[in-house]
C-alpha cells in the first residue's frame, strides 16, 4: 500500500513561527516522500542546528539532528554506514555556509549520493536575527546595526565551482515545484544540492522580494552546460528557479568504495593471516 503524507509526520509539535518558509519545505518533503513512496524506515533526514535544523524532528523516519555546521559529514557517515538508505541532509544558510562552509566542497568532490537541501532564509533564525552569509549588505539587524559589513555569498555559484553534480534552486513560495525538485534531487545519482529560498517571516521577511525576483529556468536550457549555468549565476536581474546543472556520468562515492572493496573477495581469516604475517 502506498504511503500518505500522514505516514511521514512525527508526533512532535512543530515549533516554527506561523508563516515560516520552513513549513513549505517540510510539506514539500512529505509530498516528495509520498511521490517516491519511500518507506520511512529507509529514510534518514540529517540536519545541523538552526530553525531549519529542527526539520528531522518533525519527520517520521530516522533522523539525526546533529551539531551546528556538520550536517554534510554526518550525512556522509550515515550513507557510507548503510548505502541502502536514502539520506537527505537539511540545514540553514548559516549552518551550511558559515560554520559548515568548509564541508560543502568536499561533499561535492566525493559526489556522495545524498541530497542537500539548504533552507536559505538569509538570516540566523534560531539565534534571533543576526546576518548570515547570504544576508544583503543593506540589512540593518541586531548584529548589523550599521548594515552588514560583508558582501553576501551566492550558494549556486559555490555549488558550481565545487562541481556539485546536481545544482538546483527552489522557493518556499512554490511548493509544488519545490517538491518536484526534491524528487529529482533524491533520484539523482550523486550529490544533489537544492538551494531553497525559505524566508524567515520574523527576522528577514523576503517573501515580497523573492516573489518579484524569482523566474523559472526556461525548459529549453541545457542543464549539462556548465558555462550556461555560470552565466545564469552571473545574471544579477533574475533569481532563477529550477535545475542549473546536472551530471549523472560521474561515479558516486559509494560506487567508488564498492569498487575498492570489490577487489578483495571476502575472506577475513586469510586477510588477518596475511596482515599479521607482515610483522613476523
Amino acid at each position: 500500500m502506498a504511503h500518505t503524507t500522514a505516514d511521514y509526520k512525527s508526533e512532535v509539535k512543530i515549533t516554527w513561527c506561523p508563516g515560516c518558509g520552513d513549513f513549505a519545505v517540510l510539506n514539500a518533503l512529505y509530498q516528495a516522500l509520498v511521490t517516491m513512496d519511500l518507506d520511512p524506515k529507509n529514510v534518514v533526514v540529517v540536519s545541523g542546528i538552526g530553525c531549519s535544523g529542527r526539520l528531522p524532528i518533525f519527520v517520521n523516519s530516522f533522523g539525526f539532528h546533529g551539531v551546528h555546521g556538520r550536517v554534510l559529514p554526518t550525512a556522509m557517515g550515515v550513507k557510507i554506514g548503510n548505502p541502502k538508505l536514502t539520506v537527505i541532509a537539511v540545514g540553514g544558510d548559516g549552518d551550511g555556509l558559515a560554520i559548515g562552509g568548509g564541508h560543502f566542497p568536499h561533499a561535492a568532490r566525493r559526489n556522495i549520493d545524498i541530497t542537500y537541501i539548504m533552507l536559505d532564509n538569509n538570516i540566523y533564525g534560531l539565534t534571533k536575527g543576526q546576518a548570515s552569509p547570504t544576508t544583503a549588505q543593506s540589512f540593518q539587524g541586531k548584529s548589523s546595526p550599521y548594515g552588514v559589513s560583508e558582501e553576501n555569498l551566492n550558494p549556486i555559484a559555490l555549488a558550481l565551482a565545487y562541481d556539485v553534480s546536481f545544482v538546483a534552486r527552489a522557493y518556499s513560495g512554490q511548493l509544488k515545484h519545490l517538491s518536484d525538485l526534491m524528487v529529482d534531487a533524491v533520484n539523482h545519482k550523486g550529490f544533489s544540492f537544492v538551494h531553497t529560498l525559505s524566508p524567515c517571516v520574523v527576522f528577514n521577511d523576503t517573501y515580497k522580494y523573492y516573489g518579484k525576483k524569482v523566474t523559472p529556468i526556461a525548459p529549453y536550457e541545457n542543464t549539462s552546460s556548465k558555462m550556461r549555468a555560470l552565466e545564469m549565476w552571473q545574471d544579477k536581474e533574475h533569481i532563477f528557479l529550477g535545475t542549473f546543472y546536472k551530471d549523472e556520468t560521474r561515479q558516486t562515492f559509494n560506487e567508488r568504495i564498492r569498487d575498492i572493496i570489490g577487489q578483495f573477495p571476502r575472506d577475513d581469516e586469510k586477510y588477518f593471516r596475511e596482515l599479521v604475517n607482515r610483522y613476523a
Partner: protein, 583 residues
C-alpha cells in the same frame, strides 16, 4: 640473561632506519624479544636519524639507556650519541670520517669503502652495516639473507642479489677483523612462541579490525597518520570503508554518522585534532551513539613538538566537553596491549553506547615490540544491544530508562524503530525536552553507564611486590619503564608494588582501593608537566601522592623510575599534602 642495546646513527636517507628495522626483525625471528626506539629530525627530509633496538631472551620492558653497541654512519652521529655508549661498550665507526676516543672499544669499519667496492654505489651502506651488526651479534647469515629476500623480493632478483652481496661483505669484514669485546651471541633459539614485531599504531589498527570496525574516518596528523594509512590499505579487505576527511571535525562527524547507521566506526588523531573533536564527543555522549577515538599523543600544548612523546592530553580526554558528557578513556601499556585493549575499546563503546577515547602516545605509536602471534579470541567481541521485535512493535523507546542506563538502539532500516537522534536534551522517546526532571534523569542515565563501566574488571595490572611501603601508579605507555624500574628497585632491596591503570576514566575503584590498601605511599608517574592523572586520582581518593612527572618529549628511563623510588624510600621526596580544616 642476554640483554643488548644497539643504537645506529647517521644522516636521514642513508638507511639508518631500514637497517635498524631489519636487525629488529632478525632478532624476533631468532626468538628474542625486542623493543625499538627512534628519533625524528626537524628536517622534513634528511637531518640526523637515530634508530635503536634493545633485544633480550627475557621480555624487554623499555627502550634502555646506554648503548652496548653504537654504530655511527658519520661523525655527526658520534657527536650526537657518543656519550650514550656504555663505558665498556663497542663503537663502530667509519675511519674515513673521524677517529674517536673513549673508554669503550673503537672498532673501525670502512662502511663507505666496502659499500663502494661491492655495490658500486653509496646506496647499500645500510645493508653492509646490517651485515656487520649481525656478525657482531652472532646471527646466522642464512637468517639475514632470508630477510633481505623478504624485504627486496618485490624489486627483483638483481636487487636482491646486490643486497645479499652487501650483507655478506659486512659480515665477512667482521670475520676478518675481529673485535675484542666479549658480547652475548644472538644465535636463533627454539621457541614455541611465534613472535611478531609491531608498532603500537599497527597493533591497534589490527585490533580495531578484529573488533569489527568497518568504517574509519580520519585526517592526517603526526603521529597518528599511519593508522589512517594502514586502514586505507587494509580495511577494504575486510569490507570496510575509509575516508580521509577534510578535517578532524568531519572525521568524527562521519564516524558518528556511520555508527548511527549501524557500523562500528573509529577515528584516530593527535592532540590538535582531538581539540577539534570536543564538540562532537559531546554529541556522541548525548545521543548515545558509540564511537572510538584514538589519540596518539604528542608534546603540546598547541603544535608543540609533533614528533615527540607526551601524555599531556589526559585532561582533554577525560574533561573535554561542555556540560557533563561522560565517556570512557583507555590507555594501553605496550604494543601487544594496543591490540587487545582496542577490542575492549570497541566493546565498551558498543556496550555503553558512549565515546571511548584511546590514549597512546608518540613513543608507543611508533616504537616496535615483539609479542606472540595474536589470538583474537582472547577478547570476545561485544555488539551493541538492539531492540527486540517486541520493543519495536510496542512503540519503540530509544532512550528507555533502565537499571544500567543502557537502552536498546534501533538502526535505520528497522521496522518500527524510527526516531531522531539529537544533541538536545530529550525524553525517553528522543523528543526535545527541557524540563528540570528530564534533564536530571537523563544526566543520571548518561552518568550511570559510566559508573557501570568503572565496575568492569580487568582494566588494571599489578606488578612487583604484593605488599610494600612504596606503591607506584602509572598509565599508558610508561608501563614497561616502570616495571623495569620496579625490578631494579627490588634488586636494590626496595620492594615496590606497581599498578598500571588501563582504564584511565572512570577510575576502576575496586582495584585501585585494593592496591592502595597494600602500600603506604603512592607515587603517580606520568609524562606531562602538571601531573594530570595525579590530580584526577587525588580528587577521588584524597591521598597525598608523590607526583613523578617528566616533560621532555621523551619516555621514562627505567633508571629515572629507580631514582625516584630511591628518593622516596630515603625520605628525601615527600608527598604533597592538602589543606586542613579547623578542629
Amino acid at each position: 640473561m642476554k640483554d643488548i642495546l644497539v643504537r645506529i646513527g647517521g644522516e636521514g636517507g642513508e638507511g639508518v632506519i631500514s637497517c635498524g628495522e631489519m636487525l629488529t626483525t632478525a632478532f624476533a625471528r631468532s626468538a628474542y624479544d625486542v623493543y625499538t626506539f627512534r628519533t625524528y629530525p626537524a628536517e622534513i627530509k634528511g637531518g640526523p636519524a637515530m634508530f635503536q633496538v634493545r633485544a633480550s631472551d627475557a621480555p624487554v620492558l623499555s627502550q634502555g639507556a646506554a648503548a652496548d653497541i653504537l654504530i655511527t654512519f658519520n661523525e655527526e652521529a658520534h657527536q650526537l650519541h657518543g656519550n650514550t655508549i656504555r663505558p665498556d661498550g663497542l663503537l663502530v665507526y667509519e675511519p674515513a670520517h673521524y677517529k674517536p676516543e673513549g673508554t669503550f672499544e673503537c672498532y673501525a669499519v670502512p662502511l663507505d669503502e666496502i659499500t663502494l667496492n661491492v655495490v658500486k654505489s653509496k646506496l647499500g651502506k645500510n645493508v653492509v652495516a646490517l651485515g656487520v651488526c649481525s656478525r657482531i651479534l652472532g646471527m646466522s647469515i642464512e637468517l639475514l639473507e632470508e630477510m633481505v629476500r623478504d624485504r627486496f623480493g618485490k624489486k627483483g632478483e638483481m636487487v636482491v642479489a646486490k643486497n645479499i652481496e652487501a650483507l655478506k661483505a659486512g659480515y665477512d669484514y667482521v670475520d676478518k677483523h675481529p673485535f675484542k669485546k666479549d658480547l652475548p651471541k644472538f644465535a636463533a633459539i627454539k621457541s614455541p612462541i611465534k613472535r611478531i614485531v609491531m608498532s603500537g599504531n599497527e597493533a591497534l589498527s589490527i585490533g580495531a579490525i578484529s573488533a569489527g570496525c568497518r568504517y574509519y574516518g580520519g585526517y592526517p596528523i603526526t603521529p597518528a597518520s599511519d593508522i589512517l594509512e594502514f586502514m586505507e590499505k587494509d580495511l577494504p579487505k575486510f569490507g570496510g570503508a575509509v575516508v580521509q576527511t577534510e578535517d578532524e571535525i568531519s572525521a568524527l562527524a562521519s564516524v558518528i554518522g556511520a555508527s548511527f547507521a549501524g557500523k562500528k566506526a573509529m577515528t584516530a588523531t593527535s592532540g590538535p585534532g582531538l581539540a577539534l573533536m570536543v564538540e562532537l564527543m559531546g554529541l556522541s555522549a548525548m545521543s548515545e551513539i558509540p564511537c572510538v577515538i584514538v589519540d596518539a599523543m604528542r608534546s603540546g600544548p598547541s603544535t608543540g613538538m609533533p614528533t615527540k612523546t607526551e601524555q599531556g592530553d589526559m585532561n582533554l580526554a577525560v574533561y573535554g566537553a561542555h556540560g557533563d558528557a561522560p565517556r570512557i578513556v583507555l590507555a594501553p601499556g605496550d604494543a601487544e596491549e594496543c591490540m587487545y585493549l582496542m577490542i575492549q575499546a570497541f566493546n565498551l563503546s558498543e556496550k555503553y553506547q558512549c565515546p571511548v577515547l584511546y590514549l597512546t602516545d608518540q613513543s608507543l605509536a611508533h616504537r616496535t615490540q615483539t609479542f606472540p602471534w595474536p589470538d583474537f579470541k582472547r577478547v570476545p567481541v561485544v555488539n551493541r544491544e538492539l531492540p527486540t521485535e517486541k520493543d519495536l512493535k510496542e512503540g519503540y523507546v530509544r532512550f528507555k530508562m533502565t537499571d544500567s542506563g543502557v537502552s536498546p538502539m534501533a538502526l535505520p532500516g528497522m521496522e518500527g524503530g524510527c526516531y531522531a537522534a539529537t544533541g538536545l536534551e530529550h525524553t525517553e522517546k528522543g523528543a526535545p525536552n527541557f524540563t528540570p526532571k528530564m534533564h536530571t534523569q537523563m544526566s543520571f542515565k548518561r552518568a550511570r553507564k559510566i559508573e557501570m563501566a568503572s565496575r568492569e574488571s580487568g582494566f588494571t595490572a599489578r606488578y612487583g611486590a604484593k605488599k610494600a611501603k612504596i606503591g607506584i601508579i602509572g598509565w599508558g605507555s610508561t608501563q614497561g619503564a616502570i616495571r623495569e624500574g620496579v625490578d631494579m628497585a627490588a634488586k636494590a632491596g626496595i620492594p615496590v608494588a606497581h599498578l598500571q591503570v588501563k582504564m584511565v576514566y572512570p577510575l576502576p575503584e575496586a582495584d585501585i582501593k585494593e592496591f592502595l590498601s597494600s602500600v603506604e605511599q603512592v607515587i603517580v608517574a606520568e609524562l606531562n608537566y602538571s601531573g594530570q592523572y595525579n590530580q584526577l586520582f587525588r580528587s577521588r581518593f584524597l591521598l597525598p601522592t608523590i607526583a613523578m612527572t617528566k616533560c621532555e618529549g621523551l619516555p621514562f628511563y627505567a633508571e629515572e623510575i629507580l631514582a625516584k623510588i630511591q628518593a622516596v624510600a630515603s625520605g628525601s621526596e615527600q608527598p604533597v599534602a592538602g589543606a586542613v580544616l579547623s578542629r
